[in-house]
Amino acid sequence: MTTARATPLDLPVPAVPRRAGTFVRRLFRRRLVIVGAVLLGTFLLVSAAAPLLAPQGYDDQDLLRRLRPPSADFPLGTDSLGRDLLARIVWGARVSLMVGVLAMSLGLTGGSLLGLVSGFYGGRVDRLVMGLMDVLLSFPGILLALAVVAALGPGLYQVMVAVGIQQIPAFARLVRGSVLTVRKTEYAEAARVVGASDTRIMARHIVPNVVSPVIVLASLDIGTAILSSAGLSFLGLGAQPPLPDWGGMINQGRAFLRTAWWVAVFPGLAIMLTVLGFNLFGDGLRDALDPRLRQA
């Protein structure tokens, strides 16, 4: 449909570049999406350039300069071990990016596969899978992640698994819903009639049609994953010191809130701006990918 091949009438159809251009224009039509893109871009850039921006690393301690307020030498101040907060926040961006992307990937892979199988086969399989999702959803908010951490023990990787499992039901439900709609379409029926296998129908006809909503959810879920993992780290269950985890840094700063507010305030600001970036961008992506929603 979107190939640039000549039509029988030999009319040029430069569909791909034009569509891509339209998509980008549509995406950035709203100003808030631009704000989101700038926030996200900064976050990604900082993560990538951490060794250049903070060559001293994240654990350069000097007790003689502990709890210094923001100044020209230390723009965001220092923490209780005399470490430069800016350096720790810069390196912490990598930890957040890793947790966000890996947890979301786990939720996406697990949830999409379950949703695909559940929606495609229906019947008992559907009831079983969706029942399982209902059970996962019966643990409100961050509690499911806490239950997983309770079983696996504290640590960065455990938190990623915990937050990833927490995200599975959302992807499973979304993909199942989309599959149920696509499965009844004529082209899916036609593929079945000509003898295509289940795997082929799923891979060639159903998956491409459920990709858009999944991309939108994925972009929004990275932000959610960063928030959840920061929460677990704040409770002391995430990345262990001296790893620069934003949630953990806020936890360390709590004890000095009255005397050194910057230790807890700046890492929180970093979390908020990053998650806001993912939310604004994800919202824009949804509007651009789903024309029906644009009307709303």
Binding site: L32, G131, L132, D134, V135, L136, S138, F139, P140, G141, I142, L143, L146, A147, V149, A150, A151, L152, G153, P154, G223, L227, A230, G231, F234, L235, G236, L237, G247, I250, G253, R254, L257, R258, W261, A264, V265, G268, I271, M272, L273, V275, L276, F278, N279, L280, D283, A296
Partner: protein
């Protein structure tokens, strides 16, 4: 309606069983020997064996699960490894505090969310609307524990208006009320943001309906059209979200309670996880999940009572 209630109530049973299985598995999935975990690091081999037999950990897994269910059904959630007290007593002492925090946050978020949503909907695509959108998105993106610390910094440390942490007493006392304000705002902000977005879109949808146009053409004041004719219908989908938010608030309270040293379930759960007090973790998780499922059931029923079409779907 009765048929619907019975159907919904039966549907909740497998979910509750599943939640109990998940709570049961926490101990089984934990690395190491469950009997050793319960007995503690210092316990002798004989003690560990004794605990293994007493808790039935030497039996097959499905028998263990059935016994776990049996105890739970009898109201016995085991004993805390840390304090030695019955887990049921620990939970009974703390759950009301979490519930009061969750309900206070819910009331706050519904009030603020609906007001902000209505104001944004009656002036769509204005600076006001965009501002409300940005504030709502920021609210959703802000870690509640960090917001709690910011509030503490401003209202307790700099202005000295509110107590920094702890529960000041029953809510009908000034000290009690003052102590719940900051935790409730911190916990309720994301919910307020979500409710305001939903109210806005739902009200915008209703304001386009023909009967609203009729009301306007009759010459009714805009305030009457919005508040009396439109808002009631617009709030129907909001009810569902409000119910779901109560569950989310119960879960979210875990972190907020830590910030403000609120003596609820969150503090209990986090302390239990840190000290590997598995019976307490299992009991607390199970209780919160059960309350959450029951709240959702109640929301379904209220929704069906408010909007009869739901019952026939």
């Amino acid at each position: 309606m009765w048929q619907y209630i019975v159907r919904k109530a039966f549907a909740a049973i497998p979910v509750l069983l599943g939640a109990s299985l998940l709570a049961f598995l926490i101990l089984q999935l934990a690395p190491g020997d469950p009997a050793r975990l319960v007995a503690g690091e210092q316990a002798s081999e004989d003690d560990v064996e004794l605990i293994r037999q007493r808790l039935g950990l030497d039996r097959p897994l499905h028998i263990q699960y059935l016994r776990f269910l049996q105890s739970v059904a009898a109201g016995d959630l085991g004993r805390s490894i840390r304090t030695g007290r019955a887990v049921r007593d620990e939970i009974t002492a703390r759950f009301p505090y979490t519930m009061e925090l969750a309900i206070a946050s819910l009331l706050l978020s519904v009030t603020l969310g609906v007001i902000a949503g209505v104001l944004a909907a009656v002036r769509p695509n204005t600076v006001y609307d965009y501002g409300a959108t940005l504030i709502a998105l920021t609210g959703i993106s802000t870690p509640t524990f960090w917001l709690g610390l910011l509030l503490m910094l401003l209202f307790a440390y700099y202005l000295g208006w509110l107590p920094a942490s702890g529960r000041g007493g029953p809510l009908w006392t000034v000290a009690g009320l003052a102590s719940i304000i900051m935790p409730a705002i911190a916990l309720g902000t994301p919910s307020a943001a979500i409710i305001s977005r939903l109210t806005r879109s739902s009200l915008l949808e209703v304001l386009r309906q023909d009967y609203v146009r009729t009301a306007r053409s009759k010459g009714l004041a805009e305030r009457v059209v919005v508040l009396h004719h439109s808002l009631r219908n617009a709030l129907i989908p909001v009810i569902t979200v409000v119910g779901l938010r109560l569950g989310a608030l119960l879960g979210g309270a875990v972190i907020t309670e830590q910030v403000f040293s609120w003596p609820g379930m969150g503090t209990l759960i986090v302390t239990a996880i840190s000290s590997r007090d598995y019976p307490t973790v299992q009991g607390a998780m199970l209780v919160v999940a059960t309350v959450f499922v029951l709240v959702n059931l109640a929301v379904d029923l209220i929704y069906a009572a408010v909007d009869p079409r739901i019952r026939y779907e």
